[in-house]
Point group: C2
Chain length 373, copies 2
């Protein structure tokens, strides 16, 4: 059994942010698996999605009932083989799973930041990860790999640190959040704001805005699935009865499933972090920083790319990945692209390990070989 | 200017419901335009969607700033020509625009029903409309026409009153609500339930669950548009500034638009009605009543059909209309079908009058001619 211990890295200096403010005493929670090769060539950074954390694979203790979030993909002998690669995964800035975020104590006041926490961007998250990279003595990542918001971070790596990434694997992602996704994020935050416990983000630990956060999560969860996968998995099945209840309790299996997802989420996630991380995604727009020209955004980039999308992903559909691929090709970069046929919607990046795995395994092996050639 | 006066019809007897209960003293708010032909051949029933009402066209007074919800389609000289047809539209049972609904006074208690109102079905709505038909002295509708939930009612007419409808025009609709739509409805109701004013539906008129209802509406509104129409209409445009605010107020035009839609909705709609009408749609499943066989559900049907879908409607996509068409054809019914190319998503049934209009005009003219032949 792979046991992985969480570690903490306190940034040695204040972190400058895109909003113009800076954050002092930033901590990053991270985990590493495997051993950095003497020539430093085998480091792989895995970047996580909205609700992810540093615990990408293995278990924290032998008794730990649940492995990390990408355990099917990462570990000894897995596609991202920790016998071969030195894998790093850190919890993003603004999150609530160990890294500094809105519920952390503001060193200036001694109280939690809550909504005084600065609004951060995906690039800010990556800037903090870059500090961790230096701390770990890594000169260049063989690859930065991530799905969804993790893919956004991966692309920021390629753009902002072109000499320090050999390759990038953005999976099920987009170069800019669509108005539809911005709208879903807005509605999710509105649901939280309406919660009687919200109190402008100054809720107490005993009275968190559970209902609002669960509602936001349930909504987001619908966008992670596909109409087809929901039809296959639930159809119009009733949960506990043979006929309609004729009331407003949950009748349908899909209602019961969502309720369960919402309840589980509030046990592990913080409402203020939900605000900050969704806002970081709203603001994500690589082309905007290059006058609206995505190809120009990648102008200084030198990494090789493996871009992956999933056919039924309607949150970040294949067309978005194709836009990225076209922009990369216009820069004559080394690009591989695959749309994987899957009914699982956006969540496919977590579920299609059987198909995704071999693809990543080969790509990484080729990149490692090229390093040594 | 077409002035149309709302009218009320108090059902002469209690209305039996699918849930097994019955409703006493049911009122239907309705409007009629045009004149019933001496042979009764020209009556057209228009059935409305979730948030619609009886006011389908014209204005209530000369000062009325806004015409009815389908004024582009219905009126003198319009596609559904009130110089030619006797048009009837009634507010559905359970709504809050004049017909009996959860905020009506329960004659047994003297207080508003609120959540003691029985859960109603689409068929219950149609059963009430059938009482209105008798009251108006109409023996047969030339057509029952409706989009979205209106299309569900139209199909129920064809199934339940086969001798009393000559034709049916279900537009942008489905024969059964999908799990994805059930899920969106669930999340919308959860947003309302989390509102501090909700009070299990027993809110006072001064303290309605505005925030929750607005959130539910904003969410639903996203499903009425398409990714493409949102990109065209809003893109990532900022509303009032040149750069991000780096806070959580609305930055994007799409956020501002949603906020506006939410605010407008709470001015005219009731949260309890939102519960009842969404639940009626959740429960809608024509095939289920025929052992899962949609063709069998239409077995006794004799109406001619014009089925219309819109290419970018992802709430009730074209595939759902095709299912209906196939089931009708298996019954050797007279069926026309058109998928209209449109970027407007589900809302296209309200917005594509230029394309939809001529189609309905011709179909109705043919049906009227056939009546007289």
């Amino acid at each position: 059994m792979l046991i992985v211990k969480p570690q903490n890295f306190l940034l040695p200096a204040p972190l400058p942010l895109d909003c113009g403010r800076e954050l002092r005493q930033v901590n990053l929670r991270y985990e590493t698996v495997g051993t950095l090769a003497p020539d430093g060539s085998n480091a792989v950074l895995i970047t996580h999605a909205l609700s992810g954390d540093a615990h990408v694979c293995g278990r924290h203790t032998p008794e730990d009932p649940k492995p990390g979030w990408w355990d099917e993909m990462v570990g000894p002998g897995r596609a991202i083989d920790t016998d071969k690669y030195f894998v790093v995964c850190s919890n993003v800035l603004g999150s609530c799973a160990g890294s500094t975020g809105p519920r952390s104590v503001n060193p200036d006041t001694g109280n939690p930041y809550n909504l005084d926490f600065p609004v951060i961007t995906i690039r800010d998250m990556v800037r903090a990860q870059h500090e961790l990279m230096k701390h770990l003595g890594i000169r260049k990542f063989l690859s930065v790999v991530g799905g969804s918001m993790g893919g956004m971070q991966a692309m920021e790596w390629a753009i902002n640190y072109p000499d320090q990434v050999d390759s990038v694997i953005p999976i099920a992602t987009t170069s800019q959040l669509s108005p539809q996704s911005i709208a879903f994020d807005w509605v999710g935050r509105e649901a939280i704001k309406n919660d009687p416990n919200w109190n402008d983000g100054n809720y107490s630990a005993d009275h968190v805005p559970e209902g609002g956060l669960a509602t936001a999560r349930m909504l987001a969860h619908i966008t992670y699935l596909s109409d087809e996968s929901m039809s296959r998995k639930f159809g119009r099945e009733l949960q506990d009865a043979d006929s309609y209840s004729f009331d407003f309790r949950r009748d349908f299996a899909v209602e019961s499933y969502l309720e369960h997802q919402g309840r589980r989420f509030v046990e592990r996630f913080d409402a203020n972090s939900y605000f900050y991380i969704t806002r970081a995604m709203d603001y994500f727009d690589l082309a905007a920083r290059a006058g609206g020209d995505l190809a120009r955004a990648f102008a200084g980039t030198r990494a090789a790319f493996l871009v992956v999308s999933f056919s039924s992903d309607w949150l970040f559909p294949t067309a978005e990945s194709r836009k990225i691929v076209r922009a990369l090709l216009r820069n004559r970069l080394n690009v591989s692209f695959c749309e994987i046929q899957s009914a699982y919607g956006h969540d496919a990046f977590l579920l299609e390990a059987d198909v995704l795995g071999p693809m990543l395994r080969d790509f990484l092996a080729n990149r490692l070989e090229a390093q040594h050639a």
